[in-house]
């Protein structure tokens, strides 16, 4: 019994970090690129039936 491992001590971030700031204007180009990928995926799925995936 004496050699049982103890519960690990909970770990918390000691210093509150501030999230990285996005570059101004990032959303015009980056979001548009992400949206294009979503649409590309939609198009891909619409041209394949479940059967054709196999």
């Amino acid at each position: 019994m004496a050699n049982l491992p103890k519960n690990p001590k909970p770990k918390f971030e000691t210093k509150k970090r501030t999230p990285m700031k996005r570059k101004i204007g990032f959303h015009e180009s980056v979001i548009e690129a992400a949206i294009n990928l979503i649409k590309e995926n939609e198009k891909l799925l619409s041209t394949h039936t479940t059967h054709s995936f196999k």
Binding site: P8, R22, I38
Partner: protein, 189 residues
């Protein structure tokens, strides 16, 4: 379709690390309108995809074109990387503590909480001051430790039904109570 949520969310997300669970990430990826609506609300915070969530998002995608699209989507600068190896061992240790508490409290009596959700919970715990998670599976983030801050509702494509997603946050006070109860079980020396 459409995202319905509290308009004050914009301010709540300010300077927050916003982690996305795989089910919510899938919703964003499925619907460009919802994606755009959501991004507008999170411009003051930063979006993060945990390494295990990334794995979940890509697993079982066997169509090469779709794999490429999904991978490129994750790599877009919309999401900030989570690759701080220094904290990963701390995340592992927290996950073990949380799993013990879940077991002690009977949370996992009927249904196991997945490994991915355990590590996500552990990351929220480590960054307890300013991290939140958006998930469709509240059950995997039990109320004995986590608080629901708000709920996002998303109208689904097709049948128009509404699916709810919770914004959850680690509550250190709740955790401390559970951890103290766990310590009672420690053998006396």
């Amino acid at each position: 379709m459409k995202l319905y949520c509290d308009s004050s969310l914009n301010d709540f997300f300010k300077s927050k690390y916003i982690y996305l669970d795989n089910d919510f990430l899938g919703q964003l990826f499925d619907d460009s309108e919802v994606f755009v609506d959501f991004i507008k609300f999170t411009l003051k915070g930063s979006l993060h995809i945990d390494r295990y969530t990334q794995f979940e998002f890509l697993r079982e995608v066997f169509l090469p074109q779709q794999f490429r699209i999904k991978k490129e989507f994750l790599e877009k600068e919309v999401f900030f990387p989570v690759n701080n190896l220094y904290i990963e061992n701390k995340i592992d240790e927290n996950a073990l503590v949380l799993s013990k508490i879940y077991g002690h409290k009977g949370i996992t009596k009927n249904t196991k909480i997945s490994l991915v959700d355990l590590f996500l919970a552990s990351r929220l715990m480590y960054q307890e001051k300013n991290a939140v998670l958006i998930t469709g599976n509240k059950r995997d983030f039990p109320s004995i430790i986590f608080d629901v801050i708000t709920v996002l509702n998303i109208e689904q494509k097709g049948d128009g039904s509404i699916r709810s997603f919770c914004v959850v946050k680690f509550n250190k006070d709740k955790f401390d109570i559970c951890y103290d109860e766990l310590q009672i079980l420690e053998p006396k020396r």
